[in-house]
Amino acid sequence: MNLIKRILGIVWIGLGIGAGIYLIYFQAVPLWAKGGNDLVPAIIYTFVLAPLISIGMSLFGYYAFQGEFDKI
């Protein structure tokens, strides 16, 4: 089980980075270009969801990979 936890750590890091890139380039950038009321979701994607998911998930994955959750 601990091996699975550690291997999945790499998946969470990849998922975090991938989600961040997707949210910024495929969701936020077109909305920034549109402007107006679309700036609200653009701001949310860029400054809230993308950093939260990419940094948070990657850090979680890093800890998992390091074996920090082995004894939980």
């Binding site: 009321n37 979701p41 969801l49 948070g56 800890y63």
Partner: protein
């Protein structure tokens, strides 16, 4: 023993009433968003319209984790009781003040700025309240019944919505439409101050949490809860685990079942707003006792299993349930009563209406906004049988919420030590619920409108569900693999 039981009942009631009022305050803003937008955010002013979208859909939710940090720190430094007295006053004051703000027509740009600022204060207060109440009750409860006692706090979020809808419906029913639009909408905000004052009087007599008092006497209070919670890898990893393995999924199940169901019926199915609110209120009231049942059950069979089961059922049920909800309201397969179709022209407004053999009706009010732009407002009313069918679907959605949300307070308080509990449990809770969950209805509606615009999907109205289903799935995998099955934890 009897005295202890009574005092515990008092502790739960006093904590729950305050939290209930905070939820009420937070929800009336959303429930009255349409009226507020006409008073404070004129559509011909792009900046005001932008602030409206920000205030209505994002600000109150996004700021909640900051409230969790500010008040969580305070709660771990000076005590639980005083901190959630402050959050209650802040919430009550901000809500009351919204009811007093002069309209845009009177004070111009100050109106939307003040409303947005007060909405931010509401979000901050809510961010501090929940963690305090949950921690306070949990620290009084016996370990073997912690899930049951904290589940009463969990009911307040749903009952707060029911009360907010009831007060608004009652105010509307007591006044003419003109009077409600003129001043009546302020009443639900102003009424809040009475409820807050009563709650403050009740809470004033409460004693500090025994665990916090003991930690204080032994000099074990944290000197810097923020640093200890998030600067220490040992605690930070638990914060991340609580977020990605529990509260993210739980928040999404909650907001999909309770709030997106409302948005879906109103904006995507175009169901009449009174019918929508009635369906929601009845579904919520029927489902609320399940919070306590699942909370109590979590004391017997463990918290993780119930929460994960609720999330897994939600993942596989959302698309079929929302599909059936849409089809129940959809008029395209219904038979029109011969001769019932009418078109009335009045100035720049055209009203098209028709009735169906099953008792449903359709009305479309098309207004010419400018020479090249028209606005259309479709309203569908359904028969009693279909209303009960929708109540049944909402009840199913709420039952998933109760599984995921009922045991979460006990689960979170058991993850962290007394000295940093308020801070550490509040942050993942409010990121999961305020950010991932709170933004869900707006993001899902946005995804549906994009799918409608693309016009390539068979069921574009279900596209909004992709967001919660994807994130809940990740949460379930993390929760099952990384969260240990429960231990009967002493705090």
């Amino acid at each position: 023993m009897q005295t202890k039981k009574q005092s515990l009942a008092y502790i739960i009631s006093a904590s729950s009433v305050g939290t209930l009022i905070e939820w009420y305050d937070f929800y009336i803003f959303g429930s009255l968003a349409t009226v507020l937008s006409t008073k404070f955010f004129p559509t011909d002013n792009p900046t005001a319209a932008f602030l409206n979208t920000l205030a209505t859909f994002a600000a109150g939710f996004v700021v909640r984790p900051f409230g969790a940090l500010v008040f969580g720190r305070l709660g771990d430094l000076i005590g639980r009781k005083y901190t959630f007295m402050v959050t209650l006053m802040l919430m009550g004051g901000a809500t009351f003040a919204i009811g007093l703000i002069p309209s845009y027509a009177t004070i111009g740009a100050w109106a939307p700025i003040l409303v947005l600022t007060l909405r931010l204060l509401q979000g901050l207060a809510l961010g501090g309240e929940y963690g305090g109440a949950a921690t306070y009750v949990a620290e009084h409860a016996p370990p073997e019944r912690r899930g049951f006692f904290t589940s009463w706090i969990q009911t307040t979020a749903t009952l707060g919505l029911v009360i907010s809808l009831a007060v608004i419906m009652l105010t509307r029913a007591s006044l003419s439409k003109e009077a409600f639009d003129d001043y009546g909408w302020r009443i639900p905000f102003l009424v809040s101050i009475i409820m807050v004052l009563v709650s403050l009087l009740i809470r004033k007599n409460m004693e500090e949490s025994p665990m916090f008092e003991q930690a204080k006497m032994e000099g074990k209070i944290s000197k810097n809860p923020l640093k200890e919670s998030f600067g220490n890898k040992l605690n930070l990893k638990y914060v991340l685990l609580a977020l990605f393995g529990a509260t993210m999924g739980q928040g999404l199940v909650w907001y999909t079942g309770q709030f997106y169901a409302q948005t879906f019926l109103l904006k995507i199915c175009n169901l009449d707003d009174i019918q929508t609110n009635m369906i929601l209120v009845i579904g919520l009231l029927l489902g609320t006792p399940l919070f306590v049942i699942f909370g109590a059950l979590s004391d017997k069979i463990g918290r993780k299993g119930i929460m994960m089961a609720g999330m897994i059922i939600a993942i596989f049920s959302y698309r079929p349930i929302f599909d059936q909800m849409y089809k129940t309201v959809d008029i395209t397969h219904k038979t029109v009563v011969p001769g019932s179709e009418k078109m009335i022209l009045s100035g720049k407004t055209t009203t098209v209406s028709k009735e169906f053999t099953d008792g449903s009706s359709y009305k479309n009010v098309i207004t010419e906004v400018s020479t090249d732009k028209t606005e259309s407002k479709i309203t569908i009313k359904i028969n009693k049988t279909d209303q009960w069918t929708l109540i049944g679907y909402v009840f199913c959605l709420i039952s998933f919420v109760t599984m995921a949300y009922g045991p979460i307070a006990a689960f979170l308080v058991e993850m962290f030590p007394t000295k940093i509990r308020y801070t550490s449990m509040s942050l993942p809770y409010h990121i999961g619920n305020g950010v991932f969950g709170g933004l869900m209805p707006a993001i899902a509606t946005f995804l549906v409108s994009n799918a409608n615009a693309a016009g390539t999907l068979e069921k574009p109205y279900l596209e909004g569900l992709n967001y919660p289903i994807a994130l809940i799935s990740v949460c379930v995998v993390i929760g099952i693999i990384y969260i240990k099955s429960d231990k009967k934890a002493s705090l």
